[in-house]
């Protein structure tokens, strides 16, 4: 049974990715300007041959369906996403590759901190429902929940960078700096990373603690928790060995489902701090109407979200045999 469950999940994810590619193809044809021009970037010095080559490569002299679509799918599968308008006709895939590192660093760390901190706070306030931590924590979480990431970021920037001068205000490294050692380089990046990281982590902690609290409260009413208490186990043991493992499952799934929204917050948070990742690239592409890059970002982010969801589903199936039907 287990294999069939995995197979079905993978098939569903593959279908979703196909739909994303189809959607991207439709968007691509909706863009203003002729497709071959879009593919080559707004380079005025394009030779007639280059134009002809592009037309053939993408099947533009053939009918829209199925030929052009097939050509598009093949090119996308090979990682050929067209050329950027802004970066002098650089391939979109290369532009994305340059920017993905900083984003992974920022959001990987932020997710890690937020999962540990958010789940602990949520579990504790759910466990001690109505207590001081629950009351204050819930209020703060609710306010953070209503706050776009970039507002948190602007607040941090005004207080800790401009006001107190503890951290640099923008970028990932000090411009023009030379480093005596690799260590100095790392320290410089960490100083730049501190505020964006705090910004995203704070935003996420609010969400995760709300999720975890609800999940713990739900679990606490279950029969097996009552049984565990009736057996005379200590509070801590009931929480750690009985309530938490079951409460964690739905919380972790919801975190995976939420990754799509985190991605959205990511874009705005990076803009506040000029963090040179995919978010800042998105803003640059928007300003320059660099459609190929925008599309590449959309494709990359949506496929990442689908894959994240797939991994969560598979993990869930592994941890909780009840869902493997």
């Amino acid at each position: 049974m287990a294999n069939r469950y995995i197979l079905r999940q993978v098939a569903q994810a593959a279908l979703t990715i196909m739909m994303i590619v189809l959607l991207n193809f439709i968007l691509f044809r909706m863009m203003p300007g002729s497709p071959e021009r879009i593919l080559l970037g707004r380079n005025p010095n394009v030779t007639a041959e280059a134009l002809q080559q592009t037309k053939e490569r993408w099947g533009l002299d053939k009918p829209l369906l199925p030929d052009q679509f097939v050509a598009y799918v093949v090119a996308t599968a090979q990682g050929d996403l067209g050329y950027s308008y802004v970066y002098r006709g650089k391939p979109v895939a290369d532009v994305l590759a340059e920017r993905i590192g900083p984003t992974l660093l920022l959001f990987g760390l932020a997710e890690l901190i937020a999962i540990v901190a958010g789940l602990s706070i949520g579990a504790y306030s759910g466990w001690r429902r109505g207590g001081a931590v629950d009351y204050v924590g819930n209020g703060i979480s609710l306010i953070l929940y209503s706050m776009p990431y970039f507002l948190i970021g602007m607040g941090l920037l005004v207080i800790f960078a401009t006001g107190l001068g503890w951290f640099p205000t923008y970028g990932m490294v000090t411009p023009g700096a030379t480093y005596a050692s690799t260590w100095d380089h790392v320290v410089d990046i960490l100083a730049h990373l501190a505020l964006p990281l705090a910004c995203v982590a704070i935003g996420l902690i609010g969400q995760y603690s709300i999720l975890m609290r609800a999940s713990v409260v739900e679990t606490m009413n279950d029969d097996y928790v009552t049984t565990a208490r009736a057996k005379g186990l200590t509070d801590g043991r009931v929480l750690r060995h009985h309530a938490l493992p079951n409460a964690l499952l739905p919380a972790v799934t919801l975190i995976a489902v939420n990754i799509g929204y985190v991605v959205a917050g990511a874009i705005t948070a990076e803009k506040v701090f000029n963090w040179p990742g995919l978010g800042t690239l998105t803003v640059e592409a928007l300003e320059a109407r660099d459609f190929p890059v925008l599309q590449g970002i959309f494709l990359l982010l949506s496929i990442s979200v689908v894959v994240a969801n797939l991994i969560a589903d598979l993990l869930y199936g592994r941890l909780d045999p009840r869902v493997r039907t």
Partner: protein, 316 residues
């Protein structure tokens, strides 16, 4: 036992009385939820500002009619300070209320309408229609829809031309409404579908079919009135999401500088380097407004959900 025969007039009066009773009941139960009442009060205040901004702070200041100096901190003449063009922040924020809430409202109408139509059809018709519609819905639920809205907005705007006005609203703002609408209906459709499914099996729907009601009539007169509670509770939460999405889109530079929403003001603050200059008064008024309004919608939505959905009563 004698059956009392009612005239049409009596019947109508009785129905009205029942409806009034239901409404009074709802108000009584809702007013017991403190957080809901606070939310309604906050929303009422902002709605007032949105309806008559000119009455409260005069016409929207422009670079020409700016009343103060460049980036002045709060003072008795400008209690919220001024921006980099010398415009009064209070004036900008109150006018921003109108834009933000208007886009939020229109986007909510579009989102909820699409979601309800697809949800009711999917749940009521069932079969292959249901399978296909729900496959699309699930697709939109997985998709990072904000990024899609981000890509769609400039494409639609370039296609439409961007300038001009429809009903006094600039096209660039309507583009945002459309972009939010087509990307965020999926969760509404899911909720409405599951409620429709449970209604479809009820006796009164069968009864309507037996006496010859067509599917459209049944959906309009029997299903829709029974999901209206759910629609209202959901719409409130959709509104909060729409305000947040609009704010983020405008902050990223997709807003309209001539009709500034709160997000657009924050975008301008960013462009002017306000965070780096320590001009906190440029950020706090629009920022606090966003948080208050979204928080208020969340509070009201939670309270409505508790009051309107019968399952939840008696549970804290």
């Amino acid at each position: 036992m004698t059956t009392q025969v009612l005239t049409a007039g009596q019947l109508r009066r009785q129905r009205l009385a029942l409806r009034a009773q239901g409404w009074r009941d709802f108000v009584r139960r809702f007013s017991r939820r403190r957080e809901g009442v606070i939310g309604v009060a906050i929303l009422a205040l902002f709605t007032l500002l949105a309806l008559a901004p000119v009455f409260f702070v005069g016409p929207l200041e422009t670079a020409v009619t700016a009343s103060g100096g460049r980036l002045e901190p709060p003072s008795p003449t400008h209690i919220f300070g001024t921006d980099e063009l010398g415009r009064d922040m209070l004036n900008l924020t109150v006018h921003g209320t109108r834009i933000s809430l208007m886009i939020g409202f229109l986007a909510t109408v579009v989102t909820v309408s699409v979601g309800v139509v697809l949800g009711v059809i999917s749940g009521f018709v069932g079969g292959r229609t249901d399978t296909i519609l729900m496959r699309i819905t699930d697709f939109f639920l997985v998709l990072p829809t904000f990024v899609l809205a981000l890509v769609l907005t400039p494409i639609i705007r370039d296609a439409l031309g961007g300038g001009g006005e429809i009903f006094g609203i600039r096209v660039s703002l309507l583009v945002i409404v459309v972009a939010i609408g087509i990307t965020s209906w999926a969760s509404t459709a899911r909720i409405i579908r599951s409620q429709t499914l449970s209604l479809r099996g009820r006796a009164f729907v069968d009864r309507a079919r037996v006496i010859g009601a067509g599917p459209v009539h049944t959906m309009m007169r029997h299903i829709l009135p029974n999901v209206i509670n759910l629609i209202v509770a959901n719409a409130v939460l959709v509104f909060a999401g729409a305000v947040l999405t609009e704010t983020a889109l405008s902050y990223l530079g997709l807003g309209d500088p001539f009709q500034p929403s709160w997000g657009q003001i924050l975008n301008a603050a960013d462009q002017a380097g306000a965070p780096g200059l320590g001009a906190w008064w440029y950020l706090v008024p629009p920022g606090a407004s966003i948080v208050l309004v979204v928080l208020a919608f969340t509070l009201v939505g939670g309270a409505l959900d508790d009051v309107l959905s019968p399952k939840r009563t008696g549970r804290k």
